[in-house]
């Protein structure tokens, strides 16, 4: 295959949410706000934890990947989310993918940014909307800002990341496998309609 057809040379693909959300934004005032933050590279890292493996990973990423679920590891280069005992998602802070650098260091890594889009859910009622679809305890005492876990929302699996607790309610990032992106967006927008908005004089 000629070089100009390889993945790295292709333009940024169309947003995974384009079918259901052409503008990439849904807002129900006083309830939630859905936002498509656009494409960014993400790297899936696999490996069995040994001291040599951890040292190699820390050499590239600046921090040792977490061994326990929940709390991600941060470094100036990347945020590393725990997915399983031998599986991590590396969210690079730079514009490029970290997969080639990890591969050169002898680690098993794959660029999955195209296949794992994410959306941002924020707003005062975002926790209530999520609680309608997942059995996870989302109270700040059980799932504080900074935590991330894979779970089930509605009928699909998502990677749920609580990024921060702002003045306007918590901010969640939901990473979803691309075929289910439209379902996730529609489900959240539909669930938001169950809550009374600021703009309505009566709850529906």
């Amino acid at each position: 295959m000629p070089d100009d057809l390889t993945k790295a040379e292709r333009p940024t693909p169309r947003s995974a949410f384009a079918e259901v959300a052409p503008r990439g934004l849904f807002e129900r005032p006083g309830v939630v706000r859905l936002c498509d933050p656009g494409h960014r590279p993400k790297t899936l890292l696999r490996g069995r934890i040994t001291s040599a493996w951890s040292a190699a990973a820390a050499g590239v990423l600046g921090v040792v990947p977490p061994e326990q679920p929940g709390v991600p590891a941060h470094s100036p280069v990347a945020d590393i989310l725990w997915l399983g005992p031998d599986e991590w998602l590396v969210l690079g802070t730079g514009p490029g993918s970290l997969a080639p650098i990890l591969l050169r260091a002898g680690l098993a890594a794959a660029e999955v940014g195209d296949g794992l889009p994410d959306l941002e859910l924020s707003g005062p009622r975002s926790r209530d909307v999520l609680a309608g679809g997942t059995a996870l305890d989302l109270h700040p005492s059980a799932f504080p800002a900074g935590r991330a876990t894979r779970t089930r929302l509605g009928r699909i699996g998502v990677l749920l990341q609580r990024v921060e607790d702002g003045g306007d309610g918590p901010v969640f990032h939901l990473h979803v496998e691309r075929p289910w992106a439209g379902y996730l967006w529609s489900w959240l927008a539909d669930a938001a309609l169950d809550h009374p908005s600021n703009n309505e004089s009566f709850p529906r």
């Binding site: 399983g84 599986e87 059995a135 894979r150 779970t151």
Partner: protein, 93 residues
């Protein structure tokens, strides 16, 4: 709904899991002695106890790992969780 203690993620709700059926069902050695009767037993015959049963579970919507647990089929009480390949733990006295 069961609250299942995943050995990697902690207690999670049953809908995040898939049950893989009974544990410790040994596959007959087909290469040495092809035996239809033994294979039929391996495929179809299960103990189905009224009481404590060893089961395989898959944390499909979490860490995607398989593990074993002991579940009481009458009370749903889960008494032990242990890794794949480990022997069945002895019941507590």
């Amino acid at each position: 709904m069961l609250l299942i203690p995943c050995p990697h993620c902690g207690p999670r709700e049953e809908r995040e899991f898939r049950c893989g059926g009974e544990s410790h069902v040994a596959r007959p050695s087909f290469a040495e002695a092809p035996n239809d009767e033994a294979f039929a037993e391996y495929l179809y015959v299960r103990t189905n106890p009224r009481g404590v049963q060893a089961e395989r579970w898959h944390h499909l919507y979490g860490c995607r790992r398989w593990f074993n647990l002991l579940r009481n089929t009458v009370t749903h009480e889960i008494t032990a969780v242990y890794p794949m390949g480990a022997p069945r733990p002895e019941p507590a006295p």
